[in-house]
């Protein structure tokens, strides 16, 4: 009798753990500390501090990512807050009009990929032409071009990875040869 009870309790605990793990796995990761809130300015010091502080973080939030994209594209970010950044990106057609994720949610690679293909003006292959720049096909196109690492649209970015991807975007815009020391 005692043995049965132990087994029952063990099964219940295991089931509860599995349920908890499953439910937790379906939730988006949240970023506790915003880097853009710490370095909100547009001056050189704030921008450089933003990039190199972000590289030390384990996750990149939507807010930080969109701030970084605007800094990279425009050289500045005039938006006062996250809502304005999202509105700016949507107004330029860089972000899907239905995007409504919170600022502190970790940015998904698929979401960022849709922004990047717009930034770089990538038309993509036949799948992207047929199905549009969905997170799945935008990401696959960027993986093919070597701008993103092989990954899935639901994966997130660490700060260092986000900075690395921004670097790759720069590489694709500027000839690498121009940076080689002249001989």
């Amino acid at each position: 009798m005692l043995r049965i009870r132990k087994h029952t309790v063990a099964a219940f605990v295991a089931g509860a753990c599995a349920l908890a793990a499953l439910s937790a796995g379906c939730q988006s990761a949240h970023v506790a500390h915003s880097v853009v809130a710490k370095f909100p300015g547009d001056d050189a010091d704030a921008q450089l501090s933003f990039w190199h502080e972000l590289a030390n973080h384990h996750l990149t939030s939507n807010d930080d990512a969109f701030h970084g994209i605007l800094l990279d594209v425009d050289g500045h970010d005039r938006s006062a807050n996250y809502a304005q950044r999202v509105a700016t990106l949507k107004s330029r057609g860089m972000l899907n009009a239905s995007f409504d994720e919170p600022a502190d949610t970790a940015i998904e690679r698929g979401t960022l990929a849709t922004v990047v293909v717009k930034v770089l003006g990538i038309r993509g292959g036949w799948a992207m032409l047929v199905f549009g720049d969905t997170p799945r096909y935008a990401l696959r196109e960027l993986v093919y071009l070597g701008i993103f690492p092989p990954s899935s649209p639901q994966q997130t970015f660490s700060g260092a990875e986000f900075v690395g991807v921004i670097g790759k975007i720069d590489d694709s815009q500027i000839s690498v040869a121009a940076n080689v020391p002249s001989r």
Partner: protein, 501 residues
């Protein structure tokens, strides 16, 4: 006479050069202010030698957002051209930015976009200069002009190290990408995960090594993408063969596991078509007519064929469609794997130009599908060659220039072919009772329905040849025996030859 004149003035010239160098060195050793007008890159102090001890570093180019600090914990400040920094200084860049520094007299490094690098060590001891750059992430180009000085320089990143001696290199290490080292000229040592590989060579050209590879060659190979179906990636003989297959209704694809082009559907060449469609000087052809997938296997025992027969077949080379066995050292080649279809298929192994003399083994292995009739043909310099095999009793050795048999599912059949022909053997071994040659493959070899389909293919345009290919039923996935281990069906036995397993 001229030599005497030169010798007379040589000590004077040496003294003059020595005094000039001394003056320049002394002038440079005096610490100049950071933005002193006298400091001009690259012909000013940045090109002058330095004395022993910690070396000075000059910023010679700034693009975009760049900051510098003198050491950890120090405040960041904007970097500017002609700014003087020293050992322990740290640089960081923003997007679309870069900064170039010169360590006189002969070192230049550039930190590219979104990176950070610290000059851990920049010191001179006599004729030796030691420089260590610690790059937290980013990309750094390093140029050392080995101007009579000994250099021990390295770029160290969290996961890799690039050791440099008189060359132009670049190290990239930034998550989430694999680190990579590039040598523009000269040789550098790239260390990753406790393994060191050389990148580039002395007086060499551009070479790139990706972390985790065995060097630049493997990196280049990994980054080379050539569609195997793309015509320029095939030899002219293979192009013609594949075009011939497609013309007979086959569909071309590629098997990335077996690593070989694959044809399916279509039909084998008829006896009358075969001689004109042979690609090599030695051709071993397997054709079959049933809805099955057969694999051609070729073994070679090089040397005098008669001696090899007497000594027993010793397989030296082996050919199989795919899995790395489609090419042999002596030039044997199987261009594609035919997975068959309702009207059979065809596989060819061939040698172009000179081919080895020896005892060849040809075998057919049933991979999948139904029992089927198949035919072996071996052409040497355009002429059919006798093949030797056992009669149905399993004891009597017989010969024929064209062998036609039926292969049951999962079974195999093999024959031996001496090249060149051995007159002694031809006189001793009798012809196949079924005829020499056996009946081969022609339009009558197929059943009535298929004959009708073949007739429609023959009578229509190339585009209408497709329906035969479209009717191909996808064969269930099978594991080729060769994928597990190469199978040789030409193994020696106690009586010298064994041609049927």
């Amino acid at each position: 006479m001229k030599g005497e004149v030169y010798m007379r003035y040589l000590p004077l010239a040496i003294s003059f050069v020595f005094v000039a160098c001394l003056c320049l060195t002394t002038a440079y050793a005096a610490d100049a202010p950071l933005a002193a007008p006298a400091v001009a890159a690259p012909s000013g102090p940045t090109s002058q030698p330095q004395s022993n001890g910690s070396m000075k570093i000059y910023i010679t180019s700034v693009n975009g957002l760049v900051q510098v600090r003198d050491g950890e914990g120090q405040p960041w400040r904007a970097a500017a051209v002609q700014m003087l920094i020293s050992q322990g200084a740290e640089l960081r860049t923003g997007p679309h930015s870069s900064v170039t520094c010169v360590i006189p007299p002969d070192q230049t490094f550039t930190l590219d976009r979104l990176g950070t690098v610290r000059v851990e060590q920049a010191a001179r001891n006599g004729n030796k200069i030691t420089t260590d750059l610690i790059m937290k992430y980013g990309r750094t180009h390093y140029d050392i002009q080995a101007a009579g000085l000994e250099h021990e320089a390295s770029i160290i990143s969290p996961s890799s190290t690039l050791a440099v001696r008189g060359t132009t290199v670049s190290l990239f290490d930034q998550p989430p990408f694999m680190p990579e080292a590039i040598s523009f000229t000269g040789r550098a040592a790239f260390t990753y995960n406790r393994a060191t590989v050389s990148v580039g060579r002395k007086n060499g050209a551009f070479a790139k090594a990706l972390a985790g590879t065995s060097g630049a060659a493997e990196t280049a190979l990994n980054q080379t993408v050539v569609d195997p179906r793309y015509a320029p990636s095939l030899s002219s003989a293979d192009q013609a063969l594949l075009a011939s297959e497609v013309a007979r209704g086959a569909v071309l694809s590629y098997d990335p596991v077996a690593n070989i082009p694959v044809v399916s559907g279509g039909r084998p060449q008829f006896d009358s078509e075969l001689p004109a469609g042979l690609p090599g000087s030695l051709d071993l052809v397997l054709r079959w007519t049933g809805n099955a997938d057969l694999a051609l296997e070729v073994g070679l025992d090089k040397g005098d064929p008669l001696t090899n027969i007497l000594n027993g077949f010793q397989q030296g080379e082996f050919l199989y469609p795919g899995y790395g066995y489609q090419n042999s050292p002596s030039g044997g080649h199987i261009p594609y794997a035919d997975v068959g279809g309702p009207t059979g298929g065809e596989e060819i192994a061939y040698w172009s130009g000179a081919f080895p003399t020896g005892l060849y083994g040809i075998a057919a292995q049933s991979i999948s599908g139904a029992a089927t009739s198949f035919t072996f043909d071996v052409y040497a310099n355009g002429s059919l060659v006798n093949e030797y095999y056992f009669a149905s009793d399993g004891v009597t050795l017989i010969k024929s220039t064209q062998v036609t048999r039926t292969l049951q599912p999962g079974q195999n059949f093999a024959a031996l072919v001496p090249v060149p022909a051995v007159p002694l053997l031809e006189g001793v071994v009798g012809d196949d009772p079924a005829g020499n040659p056996n009946p081969g493959i022609n339009a009558g070899s197929f059943n009535a329905n298929i004959q009708t389909a073949l007739a429609s293919i023959a009578g229509s345009s190339q585009t209408s040849a497709r329906p035969a290919a479209q009717t191909v039923t996808a064969a269930p996935p099978v594991i080729h025996p060769i994928a597990a281990a190469p199978v040789a069906h030409f193994l020696p036995t106690k009586n010298g030859i064994r041609v049927n397993r």
